[in-house]
């Protein structure tokens, strides 16, 4: 028989994974909106933000209750702390998806022009990072989380490259500045989502191993 506390932890995990699903869906829809220039997908992202925000509040409340009522220790305490931090990251992922959707709406309102940046490819990489980070959380697999950390630099590089070519494009062809700026901001939002996926992976490693791997080190409590 599961204890009430264990049920609470399972419930917390399930809710966070459900919220993770909503955040993933928001990224995919925002990317689809960019790919198809269909405002319907943007509207879906904007409408979905409330559900993510509500989920964040509910998870915070449940985590707070478990901390206050059960006074968890060790791996359980680390789990709840990780959930609280991942919760905040997923909410920010939702915000970034909204930012992308708003930029896409702006792009759609302007004439379509070819830009030398592969946003869908970057979005695929970012989406994979979020997916893998959530998978590592689902199974408590620190090695999967470590793989996510490795992917962050690839996305960073893609964003840097996008900045260089888009700034050059704006310089060469000022008429397309608005579109280039929108795409540049989309690239930045994707890079931010990758950062949130990295944070989630770091929190999973902290939960599972008790190691703080933020800021490029492996810090174990002495």
């Amino acid at each position: 028989m599961r204890s009430r506390f264990q049920q609470g932890l399972d419930d917390l995990k399930e809710r966070l994974l459900r919220m993770g699903g909503l955040a993933e869906q928001a990224i995919d829809r925002a990317t689809e909106a960019y790919r198809t220039r269909d405002s319907k997908f943007c509207q879906m992202v904007l409408a979905g933000e409330t559900a993510i925000n509500d989920a964040e509040r509910e998870i915070d409340e449940l985590a707070l209750d478990l901390l206050a009522m059960q006074q968890p220790m060790a791996v359980d305490l680390r789990f709840i702390l990780a959930v609280l931090k991942i919760n905040a990251d997923l909410e920010r992922v939702g915000d970034q998806a909204v930012n992308i959707a708003q930029r896409v709406l702006d792009l759609i309102s302007e004439p379509e022009i070819p830009l030398p940046v592969d946003i869908p490819r970057m979005a695929d990489g970012v989406s994979t990072m979020v997916q893998r980070a959530l998978e590592s959380f689902l199974d408590g697999k620190a090695e999967v989380a470590e793989a996510v950390l490795q992917m962050d630099s690839i996305v960073d590089r893609m964003k840097d490259e996008a900045f260089v070519v888009l700034v050059q494009k704006m310089h060469d062809d000022p008429a397309c500045t608005r579109q280039a700026l929108d795409v540049l901001l989309i690239a930045r939002s994707l890079e931010r989502i990758a950062d949130h996926a990295t944070n989630i992976a770091e929190d999973v490693i902290f939960w599972v191993r008790g190691a703080d791997v933020r800021h490029g080190g492996a810090h174990y409590r002495e």
């Binding site: 204890s3 506390f5 006074q71 968890p72 220790m73 060790a74 791996v75 359980d76 305490l77 680390r78 008790g210 174990y220 409590r221 002495e222």
Partner: protein, 253 residues
């Protein structure tokens, strides 16, 4: 000032049953060290061995080395009475002498230890009651009220004052707050925190939150063995041993 405790190869028996299987532990001076573990793990036996209280039980005995400061507790020629003066003990249930006044309760240990000077006894009683954070509550009824007339929390602080009166270097506390309400418990915990300035404190507790609140170091006992001994924050956030983790997360015990 408190002194450190060095325990090496400590074994304890109840008749033929070995209940401690060779404990090595260094307790630093002027720190609070908590001993936790499930019922029957040997944690109370362990602290009772530190001041030779264990051997007061028929057929119970211990062997190994316990050094409290320079004193070799189990060395040849050590006097159990002197050992217990230097290593005071407070028990789960407050046990004041019920018919004695508050003053006499605290003075009892002093008189047993040969103190005769009334002025000196009065000074030590006041000092002890102040250290036990009870003075302000009882100073006007020291001789009028009996120990038994105090509340449970006050009785426990009275017992702490009684233990402190003989100026020990180490204070052992076996579940000192488990019979008290939350307000009395928090007073005792605050007191424990203050006491470490003057004494080395070892506290046995079932209450892990209490260990986390008061102790700088925590040892986890299981089936007569010391499984893990580390900084309290490490034990309760990232214990190294799976058995410690299972215990502190409530998965057994």
């Amino acid at each position: 000032m408190g002194v450190g405790i060095e325990v090496r190869g400590l074994k304890a028996w109840y008749g033929k049953n070995e209940s401690l299987h060779g404990i090595d532990m260094s307790v630093p001076a002027n720190h609070v060290t908590a001993v936790i573990g499930p019922s029957g793990c040997g944690k109370s036996t362990f602290v009772r061995c530190l001041n030779r209280m264990h051997e007061t039980i028929p057929e119970a005995y211990a062997e190994g080395s316990v050094k409290v400061g320079e004193m070799d507790v189990y060395g040849g020629g050590s006097d159990p009475v002197e050992v217990r003066r230097r290593i005071g003990m407070v028990f789960q249930k407050p046990n004041p002498f019920p018919t004695m006044s508050i003053f006499d309760n605290v003075a009892a240990g002093l008189k047993l230890n040969g103190f005769r000077n009334r002025k000196q006894i009065a000074e030590l009683v006041e000092r002890s009651l102040k250290l036990a954070a009870l003075w302000e509550e009882v100073k006007d009824s020291l001789h009028k009220k009996s120990g038994a007339s105090l509340s449970g929390g006050q009785q426990q602080r009275l017992c702490i004052a009684r233990a402190l009166a003989v100026e020990p270097e180490v204070l052992l506390m076996d579940e000192p707050a488990s019979a008290l309400d939350p307000i009395s418990t928090s007073k005792i915990e605050e007191l424990i925190f203050q006491l470490k300035q003057h004494y080395t404190v070892v506290i046995v507790t079932h209450n892990m939150q209490q260990a986390a609140r008061v102790a700088e170091l925590t040892g986890f006992f299981l089936m007569g063995n010391l499984i893990e001994y580390d900084k309290t924050e490490k034990i309760f956030t990232t214990p190294a041993d799976k058995r410690t983790e299972d215990y502190v997360t409530g998965r057994f015990g």
